[in-house]
C-alpha cells in the first residue's frame, strides 16, 4: 500500500517545488499571484492526500484552510492591494532571474545533501519528502530576499510557510498541525493588513507616510 | 683614630687653600698666552677677601632660599672635595660616599644655584638656569657612565679603592679607560663652565650660562660662590688625577713620609692640570649654545661606549 501512496505524496511535493521555482521565474506581479494560488492549491492537495493516507481527518481542515485562505483569499487580497496602492506591476529582482534560478537549484541540492544521511525515516521516499519541504522553505526565503517588492516578499513568505505546512503534514501523527496552520494564517493576514495599512509600496521598510523615506531604523 | 681624622681635616683645609690658587694659575696661564701680564696668582684670594668685606646687596624680593643657597653650594662642593683623595687614599670619611655621591653632591650644588638664579625673577637668571639644566642633563649622565667605567674596572665605586686599584693592580692600558678619560675631560670643561662650553670671564648675555645665574649675588654670598667655583674645578682635576694619575698617592694606612710625598706631588698635579686647562682654553673658541649638546653628548657616548665595552668584554 505504501508504494503508490508515497509516490503520489512525493509527486505532489515535487509539484510544490516546481511551483516555487516558477515563483522565482515570474517577473509580473499578477502572474506571481497566480502562481501563489497554484502553490497553495498544490499544498492543499498534498495535505489532503496526507490526511487520506495517514487517516488523519484533522488534516483535511488544514487542507481546507490552505485552499480557501491561501489559494483564494490571500491572492485576491493582494491583487486588491496591488490595484489600490497602484503598485508597479513588474517585479524588481535582485541579481536577475537567471542567477536566482541557479541559486534555487543549489538550494534544492543543498536540501537533498543535508537530508541524505538521515536514516530515521525508514522510507527513503519520506526522507525526500522532507527534503523537498526544506527546498520549498529555502526557496521561499530566497524569494523574500531577492524581491524588492513588498507583495512579492509576502508571496515568498507564504511559500515558505507552505513548505512548513507540507513538512508538518508529512510528519505522521504530528499534533497541533491544524492549530499551527491557523496561527500562520493569522500571521499572514496580519502582514497583509499591515501592508495595506502602512501603504507599503515598494519595500517592507518604507512605511510610507511621505517624510519617512529617509528614516531607516533610526540614525542613532 | 686621631691620625686619620687629622689627615681628613688636613685634606679639607688643603683643598680649600689650594682652590683659589688653581683658579689664579689658570687665569695667569691664559693671560700669559694672550701676552698679557695678568693678575698675580694670589689675586683670587684678594678678590675673596674684598668680597667678604663688602656689604651683601640683595634684591628686595629675594627669599630665604637666595641667602641659604651660597652656603649650601659651598658646603656641598667642599664636602665633595673632602671625599676625593688628593694626597692620600685612606681618608677617614671616604666611605661616607663614593664617586656617585661626589657627582650627586655637585648636582645638589647646581640644583641650589639654579634655584637661586630663579629666585629674583629676572630674565638673566632664567637664561642661566635653563641652559645650565640642559647642559647638566647631558654632563651628569656622562659623569655617571665614567664612574661606571672606572668602577667596573676597579670593582668598586669608592674613590679610595679605585685609586688603590689603579695604583697597585696591573690595570694596563685599556680602551675603555681612555674613553673614560676623554669623556671626563669634556665633563670637567663642561661642569666648570670653561671654554668652549662657557666663558667664565664673559658677561655677554647671549653666551653666558654660569655667570647669568650669579648676576644678582654680591658681597659675601658672591664670595662663597666664587670659592665654590674654584673648589669645583679643583675637585674635577683631583678626580682626574686620582683615577688616572694616582702616582704618589699615599695608600691606606701609609706613614707620614708617604703622606708628605703625596702632599708634595698633589700640587704639582694640580698645576699641570691648571696649565693644560689654560692652554686648552686659549686654543679653542667658545661654542654656540645649541652646539653644546653635540660636544657634551659626545662625552656621554664615549662613556656609554666604554661601559658597553666593559660589559661585553672584560679585557677592554
Amino acid at each position: 500500500m505504501h508504494g503508490i501512496s508515497f509516490d503520489i505524496a512525493h509527486m505532489l511535493a515535487g509539484f510544490l517545488v516546481l511551483a516555487s521555482f516558477s515563483m522565482l521565474y515570474q517577473v509580473r506581479l499578477y502572474a506571481l499571484l497566480n502562481v501563489l494560488a497554484l502553490h497553495a492549491f498544490v499544498l492543499a492537495l498534498s495535505v489532503a492526500w496526507q490526511a487520506h493516507i495517514q487517516d488523519a481527518p484533522h488534516l483535511y481542515i488544514t487542507a481546507l484552510i490552505a485552499l480557501g485562505f491561501k489559494a483564494i483569499l490571500i491572492p485576491w487580497a493582494l491583487r486588491k492591494i496591488v490595484f489600490r496602492l497602484g503598485i508597479h506591476r513588474e517585479i524588481e529582482a535582485v541579481g536577475g532571474i537567471g542567477p536566482t534560478m541557479l541559486a534555487g537549484m543549489a538550494l534544492v541540492a543543498l536540501s537533498l545533501e543535508v537530508m541524505l544521511p538521515v536514516t530515521a525515516l525508514a522510507d527513503p521516499v519520506a526522507r525526500e519528502d522532507i527534503a523537498l519541504a526544506l527546498s520549498v522553505v529555502l526557496i521561499g526565503l530566497l524569494t523574500m530576499v531577492t524581491r524588492r517588492n513588498a507583495v512579492s516578499q509576502v508571496v515568498g513568505f507564504l511559500s515558505l510557510e507552505n513548505g512548513i505546512i507540507l513538512a508538518a503534514a508529512g510528519a505522521r501523527g504530528m499534533p497541533l498541525v491544524v492549530e499551527i496552520s491557523v496561527a500562520f494564517s493569522v500571521l499572514v493576514a496580519c502582514i497583509v493588513v499591515g501592508i495595506f495599512l502602512f501603504r507599503i509600496r515598494e519595500r517592507f521598510d518604507s512605511v510610507d507616510v511621505g517624510v519617512m523615506d529617509t528614516f531607516r531604523g533610526g540614525q542613532g | 683614630m686621631i691620625a686619620p681624622l687629622l689627615v681628613q681635616f688636613a685634606q679639607m683645609l688643603l683643598v680649600l687653600a689650594l682652590a683659589p690658587l688653581l683658579t689664579g694659575l689658570v687665569r695667569k696661564v691664559k693671560a700669559r698666552l694672550q701676552r698679557r701680564v695678568g693678575p698675580p696668582l694670589v689675586q683670587p684670594y684678594r678678590d675673596l677677601r674684598r668680597l667678604m668685606g663688602k656689604d651683601a646687596v640683595m634684591a628686595e624680593n629675594a627669599s630665604w632660599l637666595f641667602r641659604v643657597a651660597p652656603y649650601t653650594i659651598f658646603a656641598c662642593t667642599w664636602v665633595a672635595a673632602a671625599l676625593v683623595p688628593t694626597f692620600a687614599t685612606g681618608l677617614m670619611f671616604s666611605w661616607t660616599g663614593d664617586l656617585i655621591v661626589v657627582a650627586a653632591l655637585l648636582g645638589t650644588a647646581r640644583f641650589a644655584l639654579s634655584l637661586a638664579a630663579l629666585d629674583i625673577g629676572t630674565a638673566f637668571g632664567g637664561i642661566g638656569a635653563s641652559r645650565e639644566a640642559m647642559i647638566a642633563s647631558l654632563a651628569e649622565p656622562a659623569t655617571i657612565l665614567i664612574v661606571f667605567c672606572v668602577a667596573l674596572i676597579a670593582g668598586s665605586t669608592q674613590l679610595s679603592n679605585i685609586a688603590d686599584h689603579m695604583l697597585n693592580a696591573h690595570v694596563g692600558l685599556r680602551v675603555s679607560l681612555a674613553l673614560a678619560l676623554v669623556a671626563l675631560i669634556v665633563v670637567t670643561l663642561t661642569e666648570n663652565a670653561r671654554i668652549p662650553v662657557d666663558n667664565p670671564a664673559t658677561h655677554l648675555e647671549l653666551t653666558m650660562v654660569h655667570e647669568a645665574m650669579v648676576l644678582e649675588y654680591s658681597g659675601r654670598h658672591l664670595a662663597m660662590i666664587e670659592l665654590s667655583v674654584s673648589l669645583k674645578l679643583l675637585v674635577y682635576i683631583s678626580i682626574v688625577a686620582c683615577i688616572f694619575f694616582p702616582v704618589g698617592l699615599a695608600g691606606a694606612g701609609a706613614g707620614p713620609l708617604a703622606m708628605a710625598v703625596g702632599a708634595a706631588v698633589y700640587p704639582i698635579k694640580l698645576a699641570i692640570g691648571g696649565v693644560l686647562l689654560g692652554i686648552f682654553e686659549m686654543s679653542i673658541a667658545k661654542m654656540r649654545v645649541f652646539r653644546l649638546p653635540n660636544f657634551v653628548g659626545a662625552a656621554l657616548m664615549l662613556g656609554l661606549l666604554g661601559v658597553l665595552l666593559l660589559f661585553v668584554s672584560r679585557g677592554m
Partner: protein, 666 residues
C-alpha cells in the same frame, strides 16, 4: 594579625556608605577622612609587623562560592600594606584640611574610602577572583574620583581613557593568571605556586603580567592614561593614585613574576629593564616640557615607575642567572624606590593641591613667588623636589644609588641582551636623574620663586594646618629615609628573602649606620654623615664668613644686569625654561616644533609663538588603534540602516552557511 586587614576593609566600606549619606554635612568630611587616617595608620602598623611576621592565611565565604575569598598576608604584601597605609594616612590627613574646599564632596567622599578598600584587598588577595575583583574595584572607584571634578574640561575624557586602560590591565592580568592556572583552571595562588609551568606558559604569563601590571603602573608604552587621569582627580586622590596605586600595580607584577612564576628567563628581564629605562627618560622629558603642575608630577610618576621597573628587571636578570644576592639587592633597591616615590610624590601632590587651592590654577606660567606667601608649602615642596631629583642626602638618591650599585654588581652576565641592556639602563637612569633635576628646578623655580605672574599668585595664602602637617610629616620622612636607608634595607630583608631566596647584608650593625650594599670595599654610602657634614660645613662657612667679613645685608631693587624692569611678565617663563631641553631632546622624540608668527613691521598685532609636541607612543600605538576601531565601527554601522530585505538576507545567509557547513561536516 591578618584579620585586622579585612576589618580595615570593612570599616572603609562602611566609611564609604557614611560618606554617601553624610556627603553634604561638614561632619562627613571629618568622619570619612578621619576614619581613613586611622585605618591607614592601622594598616601601616599591621604591614610593618607583617613584614617580619609569619605568612598568614584566611578564607572568607565571599566571592566565587566554591572557591571562597582567599587572603594571605606575607612579607611582600606586608611591605606594600605598610606603604599603602602610609600613603593613605598622609593623604587622609591632607584631605581633612583640603577637603573643606571641595565643591562637590558628595562626588568624593563615598569613593575615597572604597578606593582605599580596593587597594587593601589587592594586597591580600590570594586567588584570581579576589585579586581581579579588588584590582578592578580599585580602578572603578578611582575612576569615579577622577571624574569627580567632571566640569573641568578634559576630565571626563581622561577618566574614560583611564578606565579603559585599567580594565585592559585587569584583563591582561586575568590572562596571566589564566596561563598559570592551566587547563585545570586553578584559582588559588597556592595552586599556581605549586604548579610547574612549561617555558611557553611562563613566557605568556610573564608577558601578560607585564602588560597588565605595566599598564596599571604607567610603564611606557602603556602610560598614556596616567598623565591624563592623575591630575584630573582631587589632589589627595592624585597623591594616592600616583603615590600608592601605581605601587599596587608593581606589587601585582612582583607577586606574579617573583612569587607565582618563581623566576623568568633572561629575555624577560631584558624587556623589563629596557622598557623601564625608556620609560624613565620619556616620562621625565615629558615632565620637563609640561606646564600643568599636576600633569608634570604625573609624568614624573611615569619616570619613577620606569626606575622601579629597571630595578625589577635587574632582579629578574640576576635571578635568571642564579645570582640571588644580586637579585636581592636589585629588588630591595626597586622596592625602596617605590617607597620613596610614595613619599615624595604624595608630598608633591599635596603641595600642588595647596597651590591649586591657593591660586586656582595648575598652570605654572601663572604662578611665581609663592615661597613668600606659602612658606611652609614651599619649604616642604622644596624637600620633595630635592628628593625626587635624586640628590643626596634625600631618599630618592639612596634608592637610585642602590640601583646603580646593582647595575655595577655583575657585568659578566652571559646573555647578550643583558650585556647591552644593563649598561644602557645605567645611561638612561643617569639621564633621567639629571633631567628630573632640571624638571624640578623648573617646576619649583617658576611656581614658587621669582615674582608673582598673576594677581592670583600674588594673593595666594598659606594652606591649612592639616595640609601643612601632612606635608611636613612627609617631608620629614623623605629626609629620614634618606638619612637612614639601612633601616629600610633591613626592613625589606624578609621580602627579598621570600622573593629571591637571599637578602642584602644586615645594615644596622655597620658603624655610623653606613649603607653597604655588598661589601665595604665595593661601595658604601652614609646619608646621615653626609648630611651632618654638609650642614656643619655650611654652618661653619656662614659663621666664619659673617665673623670675618661683613654681616650687613642691604635690600635694593634687583640688578638684572642693569635692566631693572618692573613687570613680572619679563621673567623667564616655564616654556622658555624648558626650551633648551625641548630643543635638544624634543625635536627628535616628540616632534616638538616652534613656529613664530611675526607680524610685518608696522603691523600692530602681537607676534605669536606656537609650540607643538606629540607623544610618540600615542601617535604610534593608540591613535592607530583608535582609528582602527573607528574605521571598523563606521563601516559596520552601515548595518544599522539596511532594509528589511537585507536583514532577511542575513538570516537566509546564516541558514545557508550553517546548512552547508552541516552538509560538509557530514
Amino acid at each position: 594579625m591578618i584579620a585586622i586587614v579585612p576589618g580595615c576593609i570593612a570599616i572603609l566600606v562602611a566609611l564609604g556608605v557614611a560618606g554617601a549619606i553624610l556627603a553634604r554635612a561638614p561632619v562627613g568630611r571629618w568622619i570619612v577622612y578621619g576614619g581613613c587616617l586611622l585605618v591607614g595608620s592601622t594598616s601601616l602598623v599591621a604591614g610593618l609587623i607583617a613584614i617580619g611576621g609569619p605568612t598568614e592565611h584566611l578564607v572568607l565565604p565571599l566571592g566565587v562560592p566554591w572557591i571562597g575569598m582567599h587572603l594571605r598576608l606575607d612579607s611582600l604584601s606586608g611591605f606594600f600594606l605598610a606603604l599603602l597605609g602610609l600613603g593613605a594616612a598622609g593623604a587622609s590627613l591632607f584631605a581633612i584640611g583640603y577637603g573643606r574646599h571641595d565643591q562637590e564632596p558628595q562626588r568624593i567622599l563615598p569613593f575615597y574610602p572604597l578606593f582605599l578598600a580596593g587597594m587593601h584587598l589587592v594586597l591580600l588577595a590570594d586567588d584570581t577572583f579576589t585579586f581581579l575583583f579588588a584590582w578592578e574595584f580599585m580602578s572603578a572607584t578611582s575612576w569615579a574620583l577622577v571624574v569627580a571634578q567632571h566640569k573641568d574640561e578634559g576630565n571626563a575624557h581622561a577618566a574614560f581613557v583611564y578606565l579603559v586602560m585599567a580594565v585592559f590591565s585587569g584583563l591582561a592580568m586575568l590572562l596571566a593568571f589564566g596561563m598559570l592556572a592551566g587547563a585545570a583552571g586553578a584559582y588559588t595562588f597556592d595552586a599556581m605556586r605549586a604548579a610547574h609551568p612549561t617555558a611557553g606558559v611562563v613566557a605568556a604569563a610573564f608577558a601578560f603580567a607585564l602588560i597588565g601590571a605595566g599598564s596599571k603602573a604607567g610603564l611606557v608604552p602603556l602610560h598614556v592614561w596616567l598623565p591624563l587621569a592623575h591630575p584630573a582627580a582631587p589632589s589627595p586622590v592624585s597623591a594616592l593614585m600616583s603615590g600608592v596605586m601605581t605601587k599596587i600595580a608593581i606589587y601585582g607584577f612582583v607577586r606574579v613574576v617573583f612569587d607565582l612564576l618563581g623566576g623568568v628567563p633572561w629575555w624577560a628581564a631584558t624587556i623589563v629593564a629596557i622598557l623601564g629605562g625608556i620609560g624613565a627618560v620619556l616620562g621625565v622629558l615629558h615632565a620637563t616640557m609640561e606646564r600643568d603642575l599636576k600633569r608634570l608630577l604625573a609624568y614624573s610618576t611615569v619616570e619613577n615607575i620606569g626606575i622601579v621597573f629597571v630595578g625589577l628587571g635587574l632582579a629578574m636578570a640576576f635571578q635568571a642567572n642564579g645570582f640571588p644576592t644580586g637579585a636581592a639587592l636589585a629588588l630591595t633597591a626597586a622596592l625602596f624606590h617605590a617607597l620613596n616615590h610614595t613619599l615624595f610624590k604624595s608630598l608633591l601632590f599635596f603641595g600642588a593641591g595647596a597651590v591649586l587651592h591657593a591660586t586656582g590654577t595648575r598652570d605654572i606660567e601663572n604662578l611665581g613667588g609663592l615661597i613668600k606667601r606659602m612658606p611652609v608649602t614651599a619649604a616642604t615642596v622644596l624637600v620633595g623636589c630635592f628628593a625626587i631629583s635624586a640628590l643626596p642626602p634625600m631618599n630618592g638618591f639612596a634608592s637610585e644609588w642602590l640601583i646603580f650599585q646593582a647595575i655595577l654588581l655583575r657585568p659578566e652576565l652571559p646573555q647578550w641582551g643583558l650585556k647591552l641592556a644593563i649598561p644602557a639602563d645605567g645611561a638612561l637612569l643617569a639621564l633621567a636623574a639629571a633631567l628630573a633635576a632640571a624638571c624640578f628646578v623648573r617646576a619649583f623655580g617658576i611656581a614658587f620663586l621669582g615674582r608673582p605672574r598673576t594677581p592670583a599668585a600674588e594673593q595666594a595664602h598659606e594652606t591649612d594646618i592639616w595640609s601643612r602637617a601632612a606635608m611636613g610629616i612627609f617631608a620629614g620622612l623623605c629626609l629620614l629615609t634618606g638619612l637612614f636607608p639601612g633601616a629600610i634595607i633591613d626592613l625589606l630583608a624578609p621580602v627579598a628573602q621570600a622573593m629571591t631566596g637571599a637578602r642584602m647584608p644586615v645594615q644596622t650593625g655597620d658603624p655610623w649606620l653606613t649603607t653597604v650594599p655588598v661589601a665595604s670595599s665595593r661601595s658604601s654610602y652614609n646619608g646621615l654623615l653626609l648630611f651632618l657634614f654638609v650642614a656643619a660645613s655650611g654652618g661653619l662657612a656662614a659663621m666664619v664668613v659673617r665673623r670675618v667679613g661683613s654681616a650687613v645685608l642691604r635690600r635694593v631693587p634687583p640688578w638684572d644686569c642693569g635692566f631693572p624692569d618692573p613687570s613680572p611678565m619679563t621673567q623667564y617663563t616655564a616654556a622658555s625654561m624648558g626650551q633648551p631641553i625641548e630643543r635638544v631632546y624634543g625635536t627628535a622624540i616628540f616632534r616638538a616644533r616652534s613656529t613664530v608668527d611675526m607680524p610685518a613691521p608696522g603691523d600692530m598685532r602681537p607676534a605669536r609663538l606656537t609650540r607643538t609636541r606629540s607623544d610618540p607612543v600615542w601617535d604610534a600605538v593608540y591613535a592607530p588603534l583608535g582609528r582602527c576601531v573607528t574605521f571598523v565601527s563606521s563601516h559596520l554601522n552601515v548595518l544599522q540602516f539596511l532594509t528589511i530585505r537585507r536583514y532577511l538576507g542575513f538570516v537566509f545567509g546564516a541558514l545557508i552557511v550553517l546548512l552547508a557547513a552541516l552538509a560538509l561536516w557530514q
